[in-house]
């Protein structure tokens, strides 16, 4: 087709347009490129190769950094103890840009180019769900550390497992008895208006009802919101507990404005530490949280009754007593979640050893061996606590921590039992063909 007037000839359109297009091209490149994967050097066939689908860029980057550190520490410990089936473990990292489309490509790359034995380590739910079909099609065991309910919902496929961290449905259910008994019976929920918030919106009311408490209001806040004051008048006056799970950069503003709204006479506050992972609890604006309670998967701050295994784990990963990187107090960890990487790798080790795993031809055996696992005892391999594993729904169940903000740190005031978080299975992966 003709292009007589040079409609697309950027060289004829003057500086402004050219500059604009350059900026657009570069900007778009930066916007889309995080998801693109990178090559890694060819590996020898001797080590067990674990493909680590990491959120190096995108919204999950803070988590990704700490997931990588925990993974490196666990692999070092495993290799120093003789590896898996006598073979060293090697981790190959690919950045998925915290993007589900890219995540699927990364899984494909692990399967067909790196030829890893398994894929592991994904956190964000949409990336897990986006990548799961690729893992199932490649018959690639896919061990995620996400805490989403997606695996346990049995909506994914037989190759997807979550053996190292509990799912959010279980966590919420386990919180309800303590909230009803200690914080109050009339609960108002404030949550972000997307899937993470919906889990809390949907699972908390029935869990509280079973404990004789109730959710009296649910306030969903759009994820794009940067100021929250206008939502606070919706909180009913009789509210005894505000249950908040805001996430993202706006959480500091949220807490500050909540403090300005209530002053010193506030209801009880209960939140999920997801809001403040990798954020210093002593950041300016968070003073209002003093005296409030949080769910923590694993405690950020060292506790007086920490087990020897917990202490060894913290030292191996490199976090100090305040849950920050050793030598850099400002680099706060994602302690509540990242233990899942450590524990998942030890589950993989156990399952591979049970299966007598030799190579990709044994992947089906590995799936069955993982499904056959039932319990993980507390110890160096599972420093967060004991767990049970349901092979039908590929999900583990464990204890949860409730911590109080006191004197600028989080002190664990209650540990739930495994039974508190159990629920009826919603399906059975083992009926699916391998």
């Amino acid at each position: 087709m003709t292009d007589k007037n040079g409609f697309f000839d950027l060289s004829k359109t003057g500086l402004t347009r050219r500059t604009a297009l350059k900026g657009l091209a570069a900007g778009a490149g930066l916007a889309v490129a995080p998801g693109f994967v990178r090559y890694s050097q060819a590996q020898s066939s001797a080590p067990i190769k674990i493909g680590f689908q990491s959120h190096r860029t995108g919204i999950g980057a803070a988590y990704g950094r700490w997931y990588e550190r925990t993974t490196a520490a666990a692999v070092k410990a495993i290799n120093e103890a003789g590896g898996i089936n006598g073979r060293p473990v090697e981790v190959i990292i690919e950045d998925d840009g915290t993007d589900p489309g890219r995540g699927a490509e990364v899984v494909g790359k692990f399967a067909t180019q790196h030829k890893t034995d398994i894929v592991y380590g994904t956190l964000f739910s949409h990336v897990v769900i986006g990548s799961a079909p690729a893992a199932g099609e490649a018959k690639m065991p896919y061990f995620v550390v996400s805490e989403g309910h997606h695996v346990a919902s049995t909506k994914l496929n037989r190759y997807v497992f979550q053996p190292g961290i509990t799912d959010v449905k279980s966590q919420i259910q386990a919180m309800a008895p303590w909230i009803a008994a200690n914080a109050g019976k009339k609960v108002t929920q404030i949550f972000p208006d997307f899937a993470f918030g919906y889990d809390h919106r949907d699972y908390l009311p029935p869990a509280l009802k079973a404990q004789g408490a109730e959710v009296i209001a649910q306030i969903a806040i759009p994820p794009t919101e940067s100021s929250f004051t206008k939502y606070f008048p919706q909180i009913p006056a009789e509210t005894e507990v505000i249950y908040h799970v805001m996430v993202g950069p706006a959480v500091l503003t949220f807490v500050k404005e909540l403090g300005e709204f209530y002053g010193s006479n506030r209801p009880q506050l209960f939140g999920f530490i997801d809001s403040l992972e990798a954020t210093d609890i002593n950041s300016p604006g968070l003073e209002f949280l003093d005296g409030s309670h949080f769910w923590e998967g694993s405690p950020r701050y060292a506790q007086p009754d920490d087990s020897a295994a917990q202490k060894a784990y913290r030292a191996a990963v490199g976090i100090d007593d305040n849950g920050a990187a050793v030598g850099d107090p400002k680099d706060v960890s994602t302690a509540a979640h990242m233990f899942g990487c450590w524990e998942t790798l030890y589950v993989v080790k156990k399952a591979m050893e049970d299966a007598g795993y030799k190579g990709p031809e044994d992947r089906a055996k590995l799936v069955e061996a993982t499904e056959a696992l039932t319990e993980f005892a507390e110890g160096p391999e599972h420093p967060q606590g004991p767990k049970t594993f349901n092979g039908k729904i590929h999900q583990c169940f464990g204890i949860q921590n409730i911590s109080k903000v006191e004197g600028g740190r989080l002190n664990v005031v209650h540990k739930t039992k495994i039974e508190d978080g159990l629920y009826e299975p919603e399906g059975d992966y083992t009926t699916q063909p391998l």
């Binding site: 087709m1 003709t2 292009d3 007589k4 007037n5 409609f7 697309f8 000839d9 950027l10 060289s11 004829k12 050219r18 297009l21 350059k22 657009l24 091209a25 570069a26 778009a28 490149g29 930066l30 916007a31 889309v32 490129a33 995080p34 693109f36 994967v37 990178r38 090559y39 890694s40 190096r56 860029t57 950045d95 993007d99 589900p100 489309g101 699927a104 490509e105 494909g108 790359k109 067909t112 180019q113 739910s125 949409h126 769900i129 986006g130 799961a132 079909p133 690729a134 199932g136 099609e137 989403g148 997606h150 909506k155 994914l156 496929n157 208006d193 997307f194 899937a195 919906y198």
Partner: protein, 320 residues
Amino acid sequence: MKEASPAKAYALHLGVIALLFALSFVLPEYHHGLLARIMVLAVFAMGYNMLFGYVGLLSLGHAMFFSAGLYGAGLAVIHLGWSVPAAFAAGLACGALLALVIGVLALRTSGVAFMIVTMMFAQVFYLIILYFAAWTGGDQGLVVPQSARVLVLGDTSLGLTNPTVRYMSALVLFSIVLLVALVIVRSRYGRVLVAIRENEERTKMLGYDTFSNKLAAVVVSGTICAASGAAYALLFGYVGSTFASVQYSILPLLWVLLGGAATTLGPLIGTLFMYYVVDITSGYTSAYLLIVGIALILLVLFFPRGILGTIRQRWLGWLP
């Protein structure tokens, strides 16, 4: 600009299709899978090119058309249990209908206003997906079950998860859209579109109903993008709101600019180029985004009409 003889133009395009077919048998497994994905997304870029390249309408909202196909096909399978062909048709219908409605409204504007209006509509579409999370899976998205992704042709069942079937399905879609695009741009209608792009007032003076022609172009463009989205859902098994975000509106613009706007093969070249530049550079450095940015700037400086556009301008004037 020279006009290509029909035989020459068709021979080139059939040659490209034959090359892609042949590559299926020689490419390593990883690149085989990646090229299947690139072909599906190149269809998205071709749909975008139809409007941007030939009519000169710069939309910043084409992710909604891609997503209309993605969700139209995906949700038909997940919630209604439709077969693959029916779901694909549903995806196309959703895209065409959406494009018709958006076209009627957005074409009341032009230039920057058109960009803004399309972007706003896409944002509305994105938020609707999030709002109806019970059906769409919200920001987490939904998996299209592997068992449902089977194409039944008579007595034969073809699993779309099989790499060869997937590659060939992507190639068939790509080939059909490429040839349709070639026919359109060589037709009288295609010439009217270019006339509108070059001088809409003069085209009106010549007696053409520019609004109707532009509306038809929006519908064709939206339907092609929806075909890409529907194929993506059925071939790769995931529908998610990320594909409706603004990032996926900018991507086809970038691919088309790189490959060459108003060239039939430019969208494929641009998509291919973008995928591989990032893939290769990221193998050498963690600062690969910087390299990608520099590569893009150099391209805009030295290939101001995109790769194929510049080749056409300098050497092969007959390229369609």
